[in-house]
Structure formats: C-alpha cells, structure tokens
C-alpha cells in the first residue's frame, strides 16, 4: 500500500504523518504537493495538520481551491481511503467531503493536550483494530476544533454510525455531540481533530494512535463500507 501525504502551503504536520507511516509502520509514503493534479499510483491519501494558508479567512478554506483538490475528490468518490487530521479535517469539511464545519474552540484559545476518546465505530477501514467502545487517549492541538452541524445532519451522522471518535471526560472545544472524528456516509473518508500520528512511539509517551495506521495498512480491508 502506498500513501500520499499532501502538502499545502502552511502544512506543518506533514513530516509527522510521513514518519508515522514510514519509519514507524514501515509503509510506503510520498509527499504530494498541492500543485500536483494526480494521485494515480496511491492507495490512500492523508491530509496533515498545520496552518494551510496561515488559517487566514477560515481554517482550511483557501486550501480547498488547490490544484490537487479535484484529484482528492475523485479519489474519495472512487471509494478509496482519505484521511485528514486537524487542519486536514478542516480542509475536508470546507471541501464538502465531510459534512459540518469546525469553528473556534469555546475557550477561544489554542489548546495542546492529551484527551480521552471513545471509539464509537470500529467497523471502518481506519479503526478495525480498535475494540468497539474502547477508550483511548490522543493529543489534540488546535484553536478551531469545535465541530458544528445542524440538527438534521447530526441526526444523520448518528444514525449512520458516522461518528467514529467522541471525546470522553472533558469536551475540550465545545464540539456538538462531543464529536472528535467522523466519516462520510460511505466510510472511506475520515476526518478527526486529534493527532493519531503523534501517538505512535513509546519514546514519546503514547502509542494509542498506532492502530489507526495499522488498520488502514493491513490491506485486507474488512468490508466496512455500507
């Protein structure tokens, strides 16, 4: 399996994803510039965290108009795995690949810390190695992570089991329904505010994110798509 790590101007967790995939999981990965228009040869696409376009206007808004975006949309429509963390999640919502939006944290402040999460759906290609309802801990680092969608959209997300990760204990940003990560209807696009790529090595104190990458890389994808 070969993974594209897309780099936008201002992305800054690109190396973290790349190293998690390559030096930790021994997978194949390549950086792909926002100026390219083609993802052929890749089996999965990952959008890293950071501050694309300085978070100017709205987080992720300007990155949506990059040359690479149509290729990412086509990739997602073809049912192949697309993953975005933090700014990557914001880009996926701004691009309409995931419903809803991420707004300023209720505290109005950037927050970097480790939070508790519950795995709400382990029937996805990204979470198949977690237990259903398992509690894990992952780092967050964002100022705009408060998930918002209107009532109808929220009801639909819940009904279709699209909420994959939910904050437990404390809600660090004011997200509705404590939502930390969601998929699209088909389950092949996952966006989440927490950073699993920061939790893949014991040396750095946490390995709870490792199974997300392993789930995706096992290749023998359980047919998680409904």
């Amino acid at each position: 399996m070969k993974v594209a790590v897309v780099v936008f101007p201002g992305s800054n967790c690109d190396i973290d994803l790349y190293e998690a995939l390559t030096s930790v999981c021994q997978a194949q990965a390549e950086y792909v510039s926002y100026q390219q228009d083609n993802l052929s040869g890749f089996d999965a696409v990952m959008l890293p965290g950071g501050f694309s376009y300085g978070d100017y206007l709205r987080c992720g808004a300007i990155a949506c108009f990059s040359k690479i975006m149509p290729a990412i949309k086509a990739f997602a429509e073809a049912g192949k795995p697309v993953f975005g963390t933090c700014n990557g999640f914001q880009i996926l919502t701004e691009a309409g690949l995931l419903p809803g939006a991420l707004k300023r944290n209720d505290s109005l402040k950037f927050v970097c810390k480790t939070v508790g999460l519950k795995v709400e759906n382990n029937q996805t290609i990204f979470t198949q190695l977690y237990q259903q309802a398992e509690q894990i801990k992952l780092p967050i680092a964002h100022a705009d992570g408060s998930y918002y969608a209107d009532q109808a959209t929220l009801a639909e997300l819940e009904a279709n089991h699209q909420v994959v990760f939910r904050y437990v204990g404390e809600n660090p940003n004011g997200s509705l329904h404590e939502i930390a990560g969601i998929t699209n209807r088909r389950g092949n696009v996952l966006g989440m505010m927490p950073h699993p790529e920061r939790a893949v090595e014991a040396l750095l104190g946490n390995t709870d994110g490792l199974r997300l990458f392993k789930s995706l890389l096992t290749g023998n994808l359980k047919e998680a798509i409904n």
Partner: protein, 740 residues
C-alpha cells in the same frame, strides 16, 4: 512627501539627538570618518547602526569576558546564531533574543515578531528550527493591564510558533512588581543541521547579486533599534509608528524556501542573513563588512508596500519576514524561480562592488556614499562609569531568620505563589509536540527532544532569576548559569553551550552598568568552571518605566546533549518503594527566596556565595548517575526548596513521599543551590551511593499514598498532595480570572 533637512540643517538642528546619536558621535563621524557632513539618509543610517542594539558599543567590552571557545564550537558569537558540533556530522544551532520594548507597546505583535525574528536567525544559518523556548517576566498578576499583557504576550508567542510548526517546548514565567511597566519577553530558538549546510552572512565576490526575498517593505518600526536603545517613558503616541505585524504563514514559506536553497543549492549561494533590527541597512552593511566588500543598492528595486517611501524609511524599516541573500552572478534566475515556487518574491536589488564603499541609489540620485566599516567597525566604544549600588555597599548579613511560621500553611501557600504555581494555563496554548520529536515538553526541569535516526537527544532550558541578581549580581550571575546546568543534568544531558539575553536598565546609570558588569563576571566565572561556552546572545538595555529599572535579569538559555535517550529520568516519581536521596548540602539560604517573598512581601539580604568547583564536581557525578540509569526520577531544587520540589515530583503521578530530614522546618524551604531530589530503585542504591558518596543522603521512600510525610528536626507533617496539586494548578487561572 516631507522634504528632508539638508546636511547643514542637520548640523544646526541636531535631529540625530532624538535618534540616539550623541553630539560627540556626530562630530566624530563628520570630522574623522567622512570628513564632510552626512546627509539626512546617512545620518539616519549612522544613528541606527551606532545604537546599542546594533553596535553593542557599551556592552562589547563586557561581553568579551564570556568564554566562547571550545572543542565543539563551530560558530561562536558574531553570526545570526552560534553552532556546536554534536557528532555524526550534525550540529545544534541556537540563539535567544529579547523583544521587551515592542511587547510593552503592542504585546501580541511584539511577542509574535520576537519569535519570528529568532526563527529567522536559526534558519539563516542553514539549520532547521526544531524548538522554541520563552522566558517571560511580568508584573504581579493584580491589575487588568498586567493580565492583558500576559494574555497577549502568551498568545503572540503561541500563535507564531504554532503556525510555523515549531514546538514551544519550555521556558519560564515569573512575576514581580519591578516588571509591571516593562515586561521581559525573551525567546530562544534551537535548530538542527548537517555540518555541510553551514551558512554565513557574508556578501563577497565582485559583481555577485544582492537579493531581497520575502515580504514587502512598509513603514513599520522605523527606528525600532534605536527605540530599543532609548529610555522608555509613557509617550504612547510617538511609539505607535514602531508596531510591526507578524505573518507566520509568510515566514513558514520563507523558511522552507531558504532551507531548500541552503541545503540543495549551495553552489548558487554566497551568504544569507535575516533582516532583523534596523532591517535592510544592518543586514546589508553587516554582510559587506564581514567580507570586507563594497556594496551598491538600488532602492527603487526594493519591493515596497506603501508609496513615496524615502531612502531613509526603506533602509530603516523593520517590516518582518524578509531575508537578504548574496548570490553568485549567473544564478539570479534560478534563485528567483525557487522562491516563486513558494509564492515568494525575490528581487536583485544590488551588487557586491570592489572597494569598500556603501552606496545607495534612489530615483537616480546617490543618496548614500560612505565606507561600509564606518557603520559597523568604527563605532566609538563607549566608556561608562560604574558604581556599586548603595543596597549592596551597605554590608548586610545573610538572612538566617527564625520567624515562626506554620509549615503546613506555608507549604500550601507556596505552591500557589505565581512564580511556583503551574503554568499549564499558558503552556497548553503552545503546540509543544509538532514534528513529533518532543520526549519531554513543558513542565519538567528541561525539555528533551530526540534526534531522529540516532539514539541521541537534546535537552534545553531557559533560566534567569532577577531577584538573586538584584541582591548580588556576581553571585546571582553564577546562579543563573548553575540553575540551567542543573536542569540539564537532571535530564541526563551534558551541558554544551549557552545563549543569553541580558536584560537591564539604563546603562548610563553607573549603578546599572555596575550590575551589568558584575553579573557578566559571575556568569563568565560559572561558564569557565563548568566549561560551557557562550555562543550567542543578546543585550537589552533601557528596560525602565518612568525611570524605574527592572531587576537586572540575565536569561540563560542552555542546550545539552543526551548520548543515549534510553535510560531516562524525569522529575516524576515512578515506583512505590524507591529510595529517596537528597543530594547536596542544605544551608540557611533565604535571601531572595520564595519563602522570604511570601513571608515579608519583598526580598532583601546578602546572597551567600558558593564554591563553583565543588558544585561542578557534583553535577558531573549526578550526570553519570542519570546516564547510567541509576535514577528513576531527578528534580533539581530551586524556588521553594525541598518541600516544593518534593511536591512537584509527586504531581501527576499516583505516588507520594515519606521523608525524614536532618533539617529545621524553615530549611525545608531554603534555596541553597546545587541540590537535587532523586529517587533510586532498591536494586540500584548501592551503585548510586558508591558514585555520589557523601553528597547523597538517604531521606526516605516513595509511597503509594498521595501524601507528603515530612519529619524534620522539630516537627512532623502530613501534607495532602491531592489538595496541594489542586491548589498549585488552580492558582494562576484563578488570579487571571479574578476581577481586580
């Protein structure tokens, strides 16, 4: 457009006095250096380049006292940042910088652009910035203005580093009323590089291109450098023109582009330097000066954000996110294309010339024609009188004090003192983990980062305690260096080198110059004893508000090397049953202590000197113990002494401590330097005590209860650690929220 004064008008009206140039200096420039009257632009260039901020004319002689040599030193003071060899053909690069004055005026942007500036210093050397630290000193948290300053400064630092994707991993925040009108905002950046990528800020080779890259030039911060070198009174209106706005997104692009250039196209590049204080003039003439070249610049080619900028404004602007390159003739187009790929503008604005003149053209006129060295080398070093301050002259006794106090009450109070209380409220707004190398982030003695694809790590810390330096600059200077070294040793790192920010009041005050002199003397002595060179630094003078100087506050930034990250100690207790040792001797040291501050509301007394040689020997043994993996936790004792260190070691763990010490009640809070609290697993105690000998005293065990049991010579105490931790964590949020 304003018409500029003629050279004769300048001679008569003396506008340069307002720009910080003295009449003596002006006359020297006219008579000895130019043998004519300088025009308006030239006078402005002299004023800014001869300011203390750019020329170090008053501090230079003192800074020479610092040792700056060593086997690892690849680049000492004099370039954007210092560089040290860490083996495997790699090097660590670091520097600290103050942005006190801009932050006092506009705290958010002042702090943000301070971070932006120090990052450029690191990547201009060819290094990838890997970590930021900050050292902040504010007034007591008791007024809305102070709370506003704290919130804005912390946000400015966090937002810039977060956006750049450089983790802010450590630092310090203290509070004292002397900083109320003049907060200290010091930032440090650490970079990592391959030794073959080392760059210098030089412009040489006749005909080579001088290329400007990055943001456009506006009228931002004109005379920022001289502003940083002048007394700071409440004239807000006049200072408003100095506000610069940072654009971390632009800087991120600039950094990536410059790193691509320095790592992949060294054959194109001759030199690179950032435009910091005094912008274009200082970067260009320093690059020419270091290579003993001449330079001609066409100011009409400089990208400008505003219409009708004068030569003076273009040269002195402190617009952010700009770099200056010297590129070999023939590679100009390649360089432009490289920057264009990052969405950045690169423009050839001049050439290196033969001879040694600095020539500027604007609108077809030669607006400046002076020797390069007249701006850089020929600055008159200023002799400043000095005098021991009254408070130090009046012979004082060490404070040994026997005022009665309630140990339990003081213990809980102490943990809520803002300087000791948890700073999480602030540090958690910094991304301390981005780039996934942070092994130990904020909240320990030193931050630790791993170096990918090696077993090694880098430890780093900033330390400065103005109170102690105020009581005795020389001893206080030694203590600042020692505290930093102790923090690194506690993390298992061998201290490699120092950067510093020297924050003082107006040096024309003989007492303040004396403080500067003697604290440097103390720091230098400690550096020599510990064999740690000073490889970069920064001087910030005139830190006064309405003629009230801050405490003399040298900040020491220190970086150390961990050869093997594997056996690793942190401050946190690891295991019930571990033996607890107190390392070093505890005396009655209360002058400048947190206990004195708490009980009396102020600080006073004579600081006791200490023996550098024996402390150095102790640090060596401690380092060996940590490196051999004999310790489960190590914490150096600083503010609040043993009682506070013990509590901090237990916080965020499920353990407590049972301690019995040969000390008086008040010695629980004594701040004698050169001490550690260490826990050792039972099977390693023999090895540990063999190594530390009489320096180690067994004082108790780690327990599975959340209590701190303390038995002293005079009393027995049961302290509730859960309550203690709660008070410690909530103290600052509570103060920041309260409405007075």
């Amino acid at each position: 457009m304003v018409t500029e004064m003629t050279p004769e008008e300048i001679k008569i009206k003396k506008p340069y006095l307002n720009w910080g140039l003295s009449e003596k200096e002006y006359n020297y420039i006219c008579q000895k250096l130019l043998k004519r009257l300088p025009n308006y632009t030239e006078t402005g260039l002299f004023a800014v380049m001869w300011s203390e901020h750019c020329s170090y004319k008053m501090s230079k002689a003192l800074l020479r006292k610092f040792p700056s040599q060593g086997v690892r030193v690849l680049q000492g003071p004099g370039e954007g940042a210092g560089i040290l060899d860490i083996g495997d053909n790699q090097a660590v690069v670091f520097k600290a910088e103050s942005h006190n004055h801009p932050s006092a005026v506009e705290p958010y942007q002042g702090a943000a652009t301070g971070v932006g500036g120090i990052i450029r210093d690191i990547f201009s050397m060819g290094a990838r910035p890997i970590a930021l630290l900050d050292s902040l000193h504010f007034g007591e948290i008791n007024r809305p203005r102070i709370k506003y300053l704290i919130n804005e400064v912390v946000a400015g630092i966090g937002d810039y580093g977060n956006c750049m994707g450089i983790p802010t991993v450590g630092g310090e925040i203290t509070f004292d009323s002397c900083y109320a009108g003049n907060p200290l905002v010091n930032a440090m950046c650490v970079g990592l590089m391959d030794q073959n990528d080392m760059q210098k800020g030089r412009a040489q080779g006749i005909g080579n291109a001088v290329i400007y890259v990055g943001a456009k030039t506006g009228r931002d911060g004109i005379h920022g450098a001289t502003f940083a070198s002048a007394d700071f009174a409440d004239e807000r209106e006049t200072q408003r023109s100095a506000v610069q706005v940072g654009d971390p997104f632009m800087e991120k692009l600039l950094m990536e582009a410059c790193l691509e250039l320095t790592h992949q196209h060294q054959d194109w590049l001759v030199g690179i330097q950032d435009m910091g204080a005094a912008g274009l003039v200082s970067s260009s003439c320093e690059m020419a000066s270091k290579a003993q070249s001449g330079m001609e610049l066409q100011l009409d080619l400089v990208p400008q954000r505003e219409p009708n900028m004068s030569a003076y404004e273009i040269m002195l602007s402190e617009s952010q996110e700009r770099m200056l390159l010297c590129v070999k003739t023939g590679f100009e187009e390649e360089v432009k294309q490289l920057f264009k790929d990052y969405g950045l503008e690169a423009v050839v604005i001049g050439r290196v010339t033969s001879g040694h003149q600095y020539i500027l053209w604007q609108h077809g006129q030669k607006v400046t024609d002076i020797p390069v060295s007249s701006l850089t080398e020929d600055v008159l070093e200023e002799q400043v009188p000095e005098k021991q301050p009254q408070r130090i002259q009046t012979a004082q006794e060490p404070i040994t004090w026997l005022a009665q106090f309630d140990v339990e009450h003081v213990f809980y109070q102490m943990l809520q003192q803002p300087t000791i209380a948890s700073k999480k409220m602030f540090t958690q707004t910094y991304d301390s983990q981005v780039r996934t190398n942070t092994v130990v982030g904020p909240g320990s003695d030193a931050a630790v980062l791993r170096i990918r694809r090696t077993k090694k790590g880098l430890a780093m810390t900033t330390d400065g305690n103005g109170r102690l330096v105020y009581l005795d600059p020389e001893v206080g200077g030694k203590l600042a260096v020692l505290e930093a070294a102790a923090n690194l040793v506690a993390s298992g790192a061998e201290p490699l080198g120092i950067t510093d920010c020297l924050n003082y009041g107006d040096p024309h005050d003989p007492e303040i110059y004396w403080e500067l002199h003697h604290s440097i003397k103390g720091m230098a002595a400690a550096c020599r004893a510990l064999k740690i060179p000073v490889i970069s630094g920064n001087v910030s003078l005139y830190n006064e508000n309405n003629h009230q100087a801050i405490y003399p506050t040298p900040m020491v930034g220190m970086v150390g090397l961990i050869q093997n990250l594997q056996p690793r100690a942190t401050i946190a207790l690891k295991n019930a049953g571990d033996q607890v040792y107190l390392i070093g001797t505890t005396k009655d040291d209360y002058a400048g202590s947190e206990l004195q501050k708490l009980l009396t509301g102020s600080i006073s007394g004579k600081l006791q000197d200490f023996d550098l040689a024996s402390v150095t020997a102790l640090l060596k043994k401690m380092l060996t113990a940590v490196q051999r993996g004999l310790t489960n936790s190590v914490h150096d004792l600083s503010e609040g002494g043993l009682a506070v260190a013990a509590a901090e070691s237990a916080f965020a763990t499920q353990f407590g401590l049972r301690l019995e010490v040969d000390l008086s009640d008040q010695q629980l809070f004594s701040e004698t330097p050169g001490r550690f609290l260490v826990t050792v697993p039972a099977e390693k105690t023999a090895g540990f005590t063999d190594l530390l000998g009489s320096n180690a005293q067994l004082v108790g065990q780690v327990t599975a209860q959340k209590t701190l049991e303390l038995k002293t010579l005079t009393g027995c105490y049961q302290l509730d650690l859960l309550q203690a931790e709660k008070l410690w964590e909530e103290a600052i949020p509570c103060l920041m929220k309260s409405k007075d």
